[in-house]
Symmetry: C3
């Protein structure tokens, strides 16, 4: 019996996560269930997609990843399963699975015979995703679950870019420590000891380091994060809180100069 | 080896949940442990009972549900086990298990030989409930754990009611999204496209929909929730925060009229 | 396949905990993973050590406890494994494992062949601790993982003490309920019904009780907590919030007298 990961915006105060797990364990006894997170901001598809993309490569081949952030629950939006990178991904067809669409095959689930009878249409996690997930865990081939699709919804791409004098990207995640995780590949950065960072019109200087403890208390550092992208960190406290930034904000990196630092005052 | 669910007000910052799980796994190796929630407000019996009632039907026959919200820990309050609906429910005898008392058999646990030696009397979750739970998971018949009881404590019943012009019930839960879950059966609602809702003396209008995405941004909807009861929702944000209501507040539904809407000024 | 507990300051919003679990399950399929907590305050070694010390004795012999609170990640700090009290403890060599250092044997891990290739040096939980943990779960002897060490780092000891007229200790933990858990052994307390407590220069009176429900609403009690030490509690709300204290604050207990109580006004 395989591994199922679970990523939702259900929070941990409600009965929602347990209901999904109960339905899965009832139909696929012995499955190993692993929570990725249930603290996704309600309905935040970009955050969900980021977290899944970061966690999934750590799991063994054959893992089933179930992501339920589903503001369209009960509407005509489809249930999607994607086979890619040796794993299966099950989620609403709302863009969550964008990173895997071009790397594998996708099916729109069409198996009302599997769904739970339900008084309402607000909890497809329990009533549709969970029984479909159990069926997959039980070894049913994905082909038997629905029809192949090539028109799955995609989240808007927002790729980092480089020009001669600077590199521009986004803060794609703010972690619990208040570190800013960007989408700028670390390899784009020149071998320089200091970098100028522009966030919300302000320029700041930052020292390039390999790990957090190299920084002085209160110093801003730029380092290669755990996903191979540029990460910004403030020693001893949250940089996100200090700068007042949220995920999604643009970041521009340039060589450190007197000018750029002067601008940050 | 069976499934055990765990529902407490212990939070997730402390070592309390892990201590309970460690004792259970030491005595019942291989048990599958599933968290329902540990974020119940400290000592809130109504919330605990609601969450357990909502989650339990999703789990397979034979599941043991352990609920520890126990403000009377260390006093003479009894440990109760109930067999009902194909499952077992283990909890303090403080009313938590009210929904199952009339649907099965109850025993007051009396097995000091099973309890852990403990320096104090503040953590029966670890010292009494956990070893008793492991014993049940190991297949010990409930009859051997204590004496049958018929006088288990009950939470006060607070049933919804209908009269000719309106329906009255309570908000029994506010979920992470700020939706108001009531105890009013959805089937009581007439087939009407619009409903007037009275909460805290104010009347508001709401549109009857089948799912959240039907609502316009900022619109209040009334829909059949995941438990088959009336649920109130505000598109895009928390209705509970918007109206400033908490679980337990009364809700009155009536046909939408100029009058009722006028009252809501 | 054994049990692994996991204690970190990663929080539950990020993908960090899942990444560690995925790597472990990929290399040690069938391991039972139990969370102690992921809500340790960022970098708080004393809190981590307290929680691990409180939870570990509940787990069966052979359990592997993995604690990752690691502000020095990426620096030259070592990875440490300790065998003590029938269990294994794996953590950064930063003092976390102080309570077990004198009770067993320690090794500094030196197995770069096990580590995951990683773009950066910020996530040794995923890249080093997880594969080492899986190797231990798979039965590899600790001797094969590195060299014995006797110079592991220790947290500063801060022991409670007694003199003729009073007992002094520290609040080592504040739990979700706002109870103050101290390091003062309960057996040090005389058999007296009332105690004076000094916290932050203020003296207060408290009644000695055996369990919370003995207290009146709003009354402060002193009782034997779940670890056999003195615990202070306020009935119906958080004593920590009421007194405005945090973990680490000193506590002095004395016999209750008119004088001491007079001081508390």
């Amino acid at each position: 019996m395989g591994i199922l990961t679970l990523l939702t915006d259900f929070g941990t105060r409600d009965y929602y996560v347990a209901a999904v797990k109960g339905v899965i364990l009832a139909a696929a006894p012995g499955a190993t269930l692993v929570d990725i997170s249930h603290e996704v901001a309600p309905g935040n598809l970009a955050e969900t997609s980021f977290l899944l993309q970061a966690a999934a490569p750590c799991f063994p081949t054959g893992t089933l990843h179930l992501a339920i952030v589903d503001p369209g629950v009960g509407s005509t939006r489809r249930l999607l399963v994607v086979e890619a990178a040796g794993c299966r991904f099950l989620a609403p067809d709302n863009g969550l699975l964008t990173p895997w669409l071009d790397r594998g095959r996708s099916w729109a689930i069409d198996r009302p015979d599997l769904y739970r009878e339900s008084p309402g249409a607000t909890f497809h996690g329990r009533d549709r995703f969970a029984p479909v997930a159990a069926t997959i865990l039980n070894g049913q081939p994905l082909d038997s679950l629905g029809s192949p699709v090539t028109d799955a919804l995609r989240l808007p791409a927002n790729r980092p870019r480089q020009d001669r004098s600077s590199t521009t990207g986004s803060v794609v995640h703010i972690d619990r420590f208040g570190n800013l995780v960007t989408d700028i590949p670390w390899t784009w950065l020149g071998r320089t000891g200091a970098v100028a960072i522009q966030v919300k019109a302000e320029w700041s200087g930052a020292r390039q380091v390999t790990h957090y403890a190299e920084l002085e208390e209160g110093e801003v550092g730029i380092l290669c994060g755990s996903l191979g992208t540029v990460e910004l960190s403030l020693r001893g406290r949250s940089l996100a809180a200090f700068w007042g930034v949220e995920a999604g904000v643009a970041v521009r990196l340039g060589p450190k100069s007197e000018d750029s630092v002067a601008c940050s005052s």
